[in-house]
């Protein structure tokens, strides 16, 4: 019926399992129901004191507990839960024996304040330097913290738990990380190295220092009350993004392998593209060329033309710069279609899940294809008159959706796009 190879002669890569977790809840069913209902997962932070902070809300995942708490432990636990969900749906391999590699998008790992404070207390004197911390760090008392704060620790845990093959890759391309993890999986299958890949993205880094860091770069919304209204992509009064936690997992397989084992195909990763912006550490090149190039490369990779895209799942962070840049660059690629293709930003509801966003939004895009219903961009009461997207504002919209472009742009000039379709082209 359908060719197992794409127009460029490469194996078609399909999705056979998905798992997701956001501030809206756990699992595809719960997330999708709340997403199309226009619910927000953004709330006032209760995990730690908010005194003295300019931004006091976030899309935290508070219903998953880890002990002792660290952002890395939360990231790991969320990744484990979404992977379980994805594997259950895919029904691939055997327990703890996934037949392919792991590509994990994860936030950079570091020793965190609860642990640093524990060391400080252990020093037991009034003036504390790093030499003092060093003096008490060895001897085995804190050996668990060595393992916990290795960059590769989350991937190593997942690889052992799910029995993925080979060396698991932990990657960061900032806010594009989730998309990059999918891209790495797609490439491995297309090269014929494997029939299946597990692509996971996770971010549990709502902690005081992470919040302060983004705050000091003036990247976060400060519209704290009500928190649910803070993330307002494409609105005139948007003032920054809202940090959030979440995770997504996708089981990718070659079309041939998936059909051979009778797996249900949830969608196709038809194209991936990336292009580096060498203009500035946090800002896009004013001419938008790298983002334009990224979208064009993705279309070319999918062997598609702009008129074949009927929905855009925007990066849509709700920062003044991103949303405007996204409209301008999309217009350069899509021409006047940019004003006709329905566009939405999931971040209006779940916030910006940073390292996980690319995967979380790819999954929401695949659910959009499945349900033929586009989730809304909430808080869209005051449209920015210079952003002429057909924003799916406030209410979900039924639509014929055959191909979705999902965009991710990040600090460090990271741009990545994906094209997801229902059926192989």
């Amino acid at each position: 019926m359908t060719a197992p190879r794409d127009k460029l002669g490469r194996p078609v890569v399909v999705v056979t399992g998905m798992g997701i977790m956001t501030s809206l809840g756990a699992g595809k069913a719960d997330n999708w129901a709340k997403l199309v209902a226009g619910e927000s997962g953004i709330r006032t932070i209760t995990r730690f004191p908010i005194d003295g902070l300019k931004t006091t809300m976030a899309g935290t995942v508070d219903f998953v507990s880890v002990d002792p708490f660290s952002s890395t432990a939360l990231s790991e636990r969320m990744a484990e839960l979404v992977t379980q969900e994805a594997l259950e749906q895919a029904g691939i391999g055997a327990k703890a024996d996934f037949p392919g590699p792991l590509f994990l998008a994860v936030a950079p790992v570091e020793v965190e304040w609860p642990q640093r404070r524990e060391l400080g207390r252990d020093v037991g004197q009034l003036d504390i330097t790093y030499d003092d911390l060093l003096r008490i760090s060895g001897g085995g008392k804190y050996s668990a913290y060595h393992h916990r704060f290795m960059f590769g620790s989350v991937a190593a845990y997942l690889a052992e738990t799910f029995g993925t093959k080979g060396s698991p890759i932990s990657l960061s391309t900032a806010c594009a990380s989730g998309a990059t993890s999918i891209q790495l999986g797609v490439e491995a299958i297309r090269r014929g190295e494997t029939d299946a890949a597990l692509c996971v993205a996770t971010d549990g880094t709502v902690n005081p220092e992470a919040l302060v860091r983004f705050s000091l770069l003036s990247a976060l919304s400060t519209q704290n009350e009500p928190p649910q209204a803070a993330s307002r992509p494409f609105s005139k009064n948007r003032d920054g993004f809202v940090m959030a936690e979440g995770a997504g997992a996708l089981v990718l397989e070659s079309y041939e392998a998936a059909t051979a084992r009778g797996a249900r195909i949830l969608g196709v990763i038809a194209g991936c593209g990336e292009l580096t912006d060498s203009f500035h550490r946090t800002r896009s090149s004013p001419d938008g060329k790298p983002i334009i190039g990224c979208m064009n490369k993705t279309l070319a990779d999918a062997g598609m033309t702009p008129d074949q895209i009927d929905h855009i799942n925007a990066h849509g962070t709700s920062t003044p710069e991103n949303d405007k840049m996204e409209f301008n660059t999309t217009s350069a690629v899509f021409g006047e279609l940019a004003q006709k293709i329905p566009v939405t930003s999931n971040k209006s509801m779940v916030g910006h899940t940073i390292s996980a966003a690319g995967a979380v939004e790819a999954i929401f895009s695949l659910l959009t294809l499945e349900h033929q219903r586009i989730p809304p961009t909430i808080n869209y009461d005051n449209p920015d008159p210079t952003i002429l997207f057909d924003v799916v504002g406030n209410k979900a919209r039924d639509a014929r959706v055959t191909a979705v472009m999902s965009n991710s742009f990040g600090f460090g000039g990271q741009n990545a796009s994906l094209i997801l379709t229902r059926e192989p082209a």
Binding site: G52, V111, S137, F151, L171, T180, E187, L217, Q414
Partner: protein
């Protein structure tokens, strides 16, 4: 299943056409080569006592990072890497060549997180002295952290800085995960070029070993070498690694792309393989190294091994067992000479393998235990080994063209 296939039919040959090194022995290929010949080792036993580190031989950052503003936006690890990446582009003869730079696929192996020690100790000291208001930490961080420090900490901002400073504008991916991240970066870049997905890549990493925050992290696991320096193979009863500062970058290129622009190869990168041993029982890691060894293409030339063995136990003893089974291959340890540069150690190993092949000699041994033996004649095949101090194993085969 997930390894880079070695020279499959239809796969293009991948050449190493550029090498950039900034290490504790100096900058550039000649300085590092000369120091290796003289068996020089640069360790600082006092600055971080009782811990031992291999400090960066000072470089004139202006030579590769001309704008002071750019230098200020980076912490040391990023400056070292951006510097070494510039040297690699120079070495490949593509510095400033916009057409080529705009299509380079960058794969960087990075850690990150360089802390502001004063801010951390200031907070801990104030708390020890009784500061306990709920918002105390928030307020101190809001007022004391430099806004741009975050960008100097983010793992992917090494690649970001390389893109900005050198105008590398193709694609950029950052791999994390300590030692094996360096092997995986080379593995993925090689696979992409070999399969025709990419023509040219910049691969490498950088590490600042002169950091107390990193010493704390590794001290949790008692991994730091203390008190007295010894070659990696002589640390069994005094185990540990001495952190090293180093930046190592490679330009990898398809043979056709290199030939079309008249570029000469140092060597070819024939294969990179990696795995994750469970390391639950003694011998697990050595068995994985043996498995990787068997996956490399046939070695029938004049062979040698360059390893990034750390000096940490039990990993180093396990690797030593593996090496003993291949005793016909002369071994060199980069850890002894350069210290342990974590994500950078594997790219450094590939760089030294390519350099040795191109200069027609393996550098001399630097070891008191007899593990490293003299090698006569020019090596044509060098296996690069990288086994992590805790997790992750990688191996590469570098061959004469």
């Amino acid at each position: 299943m997930t390894d880079t296939p070695a020279s499959k039919p239809g796969q293009t040959e991948v050449w190493i056409t550029g090498i950039g090194l900034a290490t504790s022995l100096g900058e550039g290929l000649d300085a590092n080569w000369a120091a290796l010949q003289e068996k020089r080792i640069n360790v600082d036993e006092k600055g971080f006592a009782p811990y031992i580190v291999h400090p960066l031989m000072p470089v004139a950052f202006d030579n590769q990072i001309p704008k002071k503003g750019d230098q200020r936006q980076m912490e040391a690890w990023q400056r070292i890497g951006t510097y070494a990446a510039g040297l690699a582009l120079d070495s490949a003869g593509i510095k400033g060549n916009k057409d080529i730079l705009s299509k380079i696929d960058m794969v960087v192996a990075a850690g990150g997180g360089e802390r502001d020690l004063n801010v951390d100790s200031g907070v801990l000291t104030a708390e020890a002295k009784g500061a306990n208001a709920p918002g105390f930490l928030n307020e101190r961080l809001m007022s004391d952290l430099r806004p741009t420090l975050f960008l100097a900490q983010l793992s992917n901002l090494l690649a970001g800085n390389i893109a900005i400073v050198h105008g590398v504008g193709g694609t950029s991916r950052t791999f994390m995960g300590e030692e094996v991240a360096g092997a995986d970066a080379a593995r993925i870049a090689l696979a992409r070029i070999a399969s025709g997905e990419s023509d040219i890549a910049l691969v490498g990493g950088s590490h600042n070993g002169e950091r107390k925050d990193l010493l704390v992290l590794y001290e949790f696991g008692d991994f730091n070498l203390k008190d007295k320096f010894a070659p990696v193979w002589a640390r069994k009863d005094h185990a540990g690694f001495a952190l090293g500062s180093a930046g190592a970058f490679l330009v990898l290129e398809s043979k056709a792309h290199a030939e079309a622009r008249g570029a000469k190869p140092f060597a070819k990168l024939s294969s990179v393989v990696a795995d994750l041993a469970k390391r639950k029982r003694p011998g697990d890691m050595a068995a994985t190294l043996e498995k990787l060894w068997a996956k490399l293409p046939k070695r029938d030339g004049k062979g040698a091994i360059i390893t990034g063995a750390t000096g940490a136990e039990p990993a180093t003893s396990e690797e030593h067992d593996f090496l003993k089974r291949h005793a016909d291959f002369p071994v060199r340890s980069t850890g002894t000479v350069f210290g342990h540069a974590m994500e950078t150690q594997f790219p450094l190993g590939i760089a030294l393998a390519a350099l040795s092949i191109s200069r027609g000699a393996l550098f001399p041994p630097n070891d008191s235990t007899g593990t490293e033996i003299e090698m006569q004649g020019a090596p044509t095949q060098i296996v690069v080994v990288g086994a992590g101090h805790w997790r992750g194993e990688g191996m590469a085969l570098v061959e004469a063209v």
